[in-house]
């Protein structure tokens, strides 16, 4: 016993030393990666093109600062603020002068007795009534400003500052908010919106909320675990293995220089759900052994449990790891890492269960408190009744499962991907209301860029091409969610009108190529040529059309794309290729990639699991039956999302991995113990009852602990965290129910593992 204690102590010390090393790594080398661009696969053609186009046309995400004055913005004070904000933004190192668009910086293209004039709407703030009225008339008469930098009801003015994503930092987010809010007061209300702000708020709110919720989650898990295991030591040790495996996983990431991405926060979620189960299995078997042989010593008890448990535990851990490793087929790097390091964490949780937990038991002993449950166990328990009821109502179960599967498939067909950031916030949160407000007054807070390109230079000086662009813009803007659009065509229409005595009949594309070319030359001579560079290149064979959208969700973008794509063929006839750019579009493609990868990975891991189970249990039928809980869990998970209108996003898509991880564990433990039991017992009826009582209970405990813990997240203030909590709980519950009902019935009904017996 002395030697054994020494080994045990050594094991614990080594574990703690390694853990300390990884903690040190995390402290010194861990690095959060919040720049979403870092998530994108750099070599994907859609991203390469978009990045290129962003560079060509200075396409940036806009921070929108809106000033509202209920009495109208045409008063010296509000106009002074517009000017001050514009100039202050231009002076910030994050912005170039021409990144800032407002009534103050906008070009007012007008015709006069002189000819074409490109001036500012105002330089000095107009003070007199006449001057203010003149400004109002000028803006009203200019479609390039009216409804774009000043709302049509003239109560809101907009200052847009284009921002390079990589320059957006936490400090800058705070800076820009407090900067903008300084201008609030004296009848002026300030609103700050735009994608960088939404991203910034999300980046802060999510982790902040998690920091608050995680301790409560852990507390609840600890409490429930204690109630079920009835041992402080067992509870602490089980949680220890989960924490240590999490620390090792993050420590290894830090040591290898892999940054922590937003999806990496799902690693502990997976490890809690799966790792807690390992401890529960162990202690359940230990308790059982102690009950059967009360006089045994801890060394023998541990030896026995290891003998019984190592095989199913290893198979379960191995298959779960395969499920996660299959995520390396994803094109998205953070997801590859997520899969790899979760698999690593699981291997550690597995190893600790076989080494660390026994060591603590040998060293500190184990005291099982036998309460009332013990008394029940001897008689015919609730579990026995449940098992009988299930077995005698097979048909009801089959029909229920069939109905659930059909409903889920229907639900799955309604699942939609959402790349929206805004949908992560409460409907009545300030950021959503601000966005709504700005959208109600202006074209839209989100943008979609359509880039047209041709081999032939000068093609975008051709009237027929420009007319097609104009037509496409006009049709797309008809959509309720598309506010307005902007292109080279808008410049030309405006110039054509002002050069023809402001006659509205000339608000159209000039009729000849020469006329277009000469207007453009004229604009270059009178205005700021850099403005043109945002819509067309030097060779006039590449142009950028900006659509403003009133939503950043995939439905809105796809709706606009459907209309736009109708013109693809017509442009193609003119030798013009159509592409898209901008962060909204990239997010859309990106989410598609994640989903695509996730579905591929689920199918791949299902096949692998099927093969592994078939090999392990030497029966294809067993493989099929064992895979059933996973399939049901995944289907219901997607079905519920479809039916309850929960869109797929980076995190929700990953949750289906839980289905695989947990589902396999349950199936393997159940079937392995059933196989052992059937070999030792007369009747398969006894075997199934015993398995249900032993493994079924362990599975139930595991599900209860994790569900109780994750239900806490339902009280989170950050909607994505609530969804996370609900879906993890749902997946745990379906895995549990699927294993203990339909799979149990099938295992029993199919007379699995009976061959040896029959031969006897």
């Amino acid at each position: 016993m002395k030697h054994q204690k020494l080994y045990a102590a050594l094991t614990i010390v080594i574990t703690l030393v390694v853990t300390a090393f990884f903690l040190k790594e995390i402290r010194h080398n861990a690095r959060m990666e919040t720049d979403l661009d870092e998530y994108m696969p750099k070599t994907h053609p859609a991203f390469l093109y978009s990045d290129q186009a962003e560079e060509w046309f200075n396409i940036k995400d806009g921070i929108l600062i809106a000033l509202e004055n209920k009495n109208g913005i045409y008063n010296p004070q509000t106009l002074q603020k517009i000017k001050d904000i514009s100039k202050a933004l231009q002076d910030m190192p994050q912005f170039e002068d021409n990144d800032v668009t407002s009534l103050y910086t906008a070009d007012n293209i007008t015709g006069s007795e002189y000819g074409l004039e490109v001036n500012s709407f105002y330089k000095r703030v107009p003070k007199s009534e006449e001057k203010l009225e003149e400004l109002r008339v000028n803006v009203r008469g200019n479609d390039m400003a009216y409804g774009r930098v000043v709302s049509e009801d003239e109560t809101v003015a907009l200052v847009v500052a284009g921002m390079t994503d990589s320059l957006f930092t936490d400090t800058f987010y705070q800076e820009i908010l407090s900067f903008a809010n300084e201008y609030e007061g004296d009848g002026d209300k300030i609103y700050v919106a735009g994608r960088p702000i939404v991203e910034g708020t999300m980046g802060k709110l999510g982790p902040k909320d998690m920091k608050k919720m995680v301790p409560i989650v852990i507390l609840v898990i600890t409490l429930v675990l204690f109630l079920l295991l009835r041992s402080t030591r067992a509870t602490i040790t089980t949680l220890f293995t989960v924490f240590i495996s999490t620390i090792w996983a993050f420590g290894l990431m830090a040591a290898l220089g892999v940054p922590i991405f937003a999806v990496s926060t799902m690693i502990p979620v997976m490890l809690i759900a799966i790792g807690v189960a390992y401890g529960i299995y162990f202690y359940n078997h230990l308790k059982q052994y102690y009950r059967d042989k009360p006089e045994t010593n801890s060394w023998n008890a541990v030896k026995h449990v290891l003998k019984v448990l190592w095989k199913p535990l290893m198979m379960a851990a191995f298959t779960t790891m395969i499920g996660f490793v299959s995520l390396i087929t994803s094109q998205v790097f953070p997801i590859k890492y997520f899969g790899l390091f979760t698999a690593f964490g699981i291997s550690i949780a597995f190893a600790l269960t076989l080494i660390f937990i026994p060591a603590t038991i040998v060293l500190f002993g184990y005291k099982a408190r036998h309460g009332k449950i013990n008394e029940d166990d001897k008689g015919y328990t609730k579990i026995n009744h449940f098992t009988d009821r299930m077995l005698s109502n097979k048909k009801v179960i089959y029909i229920t499962v069939a109905v659930l599967i059909v409903v889920s498939i229907f639900g799955t067909s309604k699942v939609w991907i959402n790349s929206s950031f805004l949908s992560n916030f409460e409907k009545d949160s300030e950021i959503v209301l601000t966005d709504k407000f700005v959208n109600s007054k202006f074209g839209g807070t989100s943008t979609l860029n359509v880039v047209l390109e041709s081999e032939e230079s000068g093609v975008f000086k051709q009237p027929k091409t420009l007319e097609l662009i104009d037509k496409m813009q006009a049709e797309t803007v008809q959509l309720a969610k598309v506010g307005n659009s902007f292109s080279l065509a808008d410049y030309l229409k405006r110039m054509n009108k002002v050069m023809n005595a402001d006659d509205d009949a000339y608000y159209r594309i000039p009729e000849s190529n020469e006329m277009v070319a000469q207007y453009l030359l004229l604009y270059e001579m009178s205005g700021d040529p850099e403005n043109l560079a945002k819509v067309v290149n030097y060779d006039y064979n590449r142009t950028n059309i900006t659509f403003q959208l009133k939503g950043d969700d995939s439905r809105t973008i796809n709706e606009a794309l459907t209309v736009i794509q109708k013109y693809e063929d017509q442009f193609s006839e003119q030798g013009i290729e159509m592409n898209y750019a901008g962060s909204g579009y990239k997010a859309l493609v990106f989410t598609g990639l994640i989903l695509d990868g996730q579905i591929k990975s689920i199918i791949l891991s299902l096949l692998i699991v099927l093969a592994l189970l078939s090999v392990m249990f030497r029966s294809f039928k067993a493989g099929l039956i064992g895979s059933l809980p996973i399939i049901i869990t995944a289907l219901i998970s997607f079905g519920v999302m479809g039916l309850f209108n929960i869109p797929l996003s980076t995190t929700t898509a990953l949750l289906s991995s839980i289905a695989i991880g947990i589902g396999i564990d349950y199936a393997i433990h159940f079937m392995q113990h059933y196989r052992t039991n059937i070999a030792n017992m007369e009747h398969r009826h006894d075997a199934i009852h015993f398995t249900m009582k032993q493994t079924g209970k362990a599975i139930l405990y595991n599900a209860i602990v994790v569900i109780a813990g994750f239900m806490v997240l339902l009280f989170s203030v950050f909607p994505p965290n609530r969804t996370l909590g609900a879906l993890v709980s749902l997946n745990m519950f379906t895995s549990l129910a699927g294993t203990l009902t339909v799979m149990m019935i099938l295992v029993y009904g199919a007379k699995l593992f009976m061959k040896k017996k029959l031969k006897k």
């Binding site: 000819g115 000068g458 050069m499 000469q518 030359l521 270059e524 290149n537 030097y538």
Partner: protein, 254 residues
């Protein structure tokens, strides 16, 4: 011995006298270089953006002096879709804003274009009207910084600071060739004192007895954009008709 000292003294005084040319004097000499009464020739202007794309324009230009006022008219030869477009600029010695006209053949109309300031871009290029050379030395204070040899030519390096502190540049540093008072290089600094643009004279020659710039390049180092100008077939004092410099003259082509 006495003779030697005398010679040395004379040399010393002479060299000192030469070196003592002040910044103001240098820039005045530059400004007052003879240019002839009129000048004509072809100008090829190439705008090159940061992606390396080029926009090439060919113009025929005529310039004539009227007691310090300068009238200039330019006719576009290429690209084809703007051929016949003409641009006229009158700049005044008394500092009034320039008058500018443009004639668009597609519209068959001559239009005035307004220009608020001489620091605006010339036809979308990196040159402002001022950069093209009609800024009077009295508008700046000049300081001779040092002498330096660039491309094998001895130059004065003069720093010019505008008296009007709202001017587009905070300072300009010019390299002036000692021999002929032609500019070889110029650096323009923005309002924050950072280098904004560099002008390099690539080729110059004496034509009809006048020192003339034949090729020059202006590079905006902040925007990574540049403009090349190339002059060909330059002729001086050909007695260009005053009719060229009228709104009607603009419509008649080069």
């Amino acid at each position: 011995m006495k003779r030697v000292i005398t010679i040395l003294a004379v040399l010393l005084i002479a060299s000192q006298g030469f070196a003592q040319l002040s910044g103001d004097e240098i820039m005045n000499k530059v400004y007052n270089l003879p240019t002839g009464n009129d000048q004509q020739g072809q100008l090829t202007m190439t705008l090159i953006n940061k992606s390396g794309e080029q926009r090439v324009r060919k113009l025929q230009q005529y310039i004539k002096l009227y007691n310090g006022d300068e009238k200039k008219v330019m006719f576009f030869l290429a690209p084809a879709d703007v051929r016949g477009t003409s641009f006229m600029n009158w700049s005044y010695a008394d500092g009034r804003d320039d008058d500018q006209w443009i004639y668009l053949p597609a519209l068959k109309r001559t239009k005035r274009i307004s220009s608020d300031s001489k620091s605006e871009s010339f036809m979308g290029s990196d040159f402002t009207y001022d950069d093209l050379g009609d800024r009077h030395p009295s508008e700046d204070t000049h300081k001779l910084l040092r002498e330096e040899t660039i491309d094998g030519k001895a130059c004065y390096v003069v720093e010019s600071t505008p008296k009007d502190d709202t001017y587009a540049y905070s300072k300009i540093i010019s390299w002036i060739i000692k021999d002929n008072f032609m500019g070889a290089k110029r650096e323009f600094y923005d309002e924050d004192g950072d280098l904004l643009k560099t002008l390099t004279v690539i080729k110059y020659d004496k034509i009809d007895g006048f020192w003339t710039i034949l090729q020059t390049e202006m590079k905006n180092v902040q925007k990574n954009h540049k403009t090349e100008m190339k002059f060909e077939n330059i002729q001086f004092n050909q007695g260009i008709s005053d009719n060229k410099f009228t709104e009607r003259g603009m419509t008649l082509g080069s």
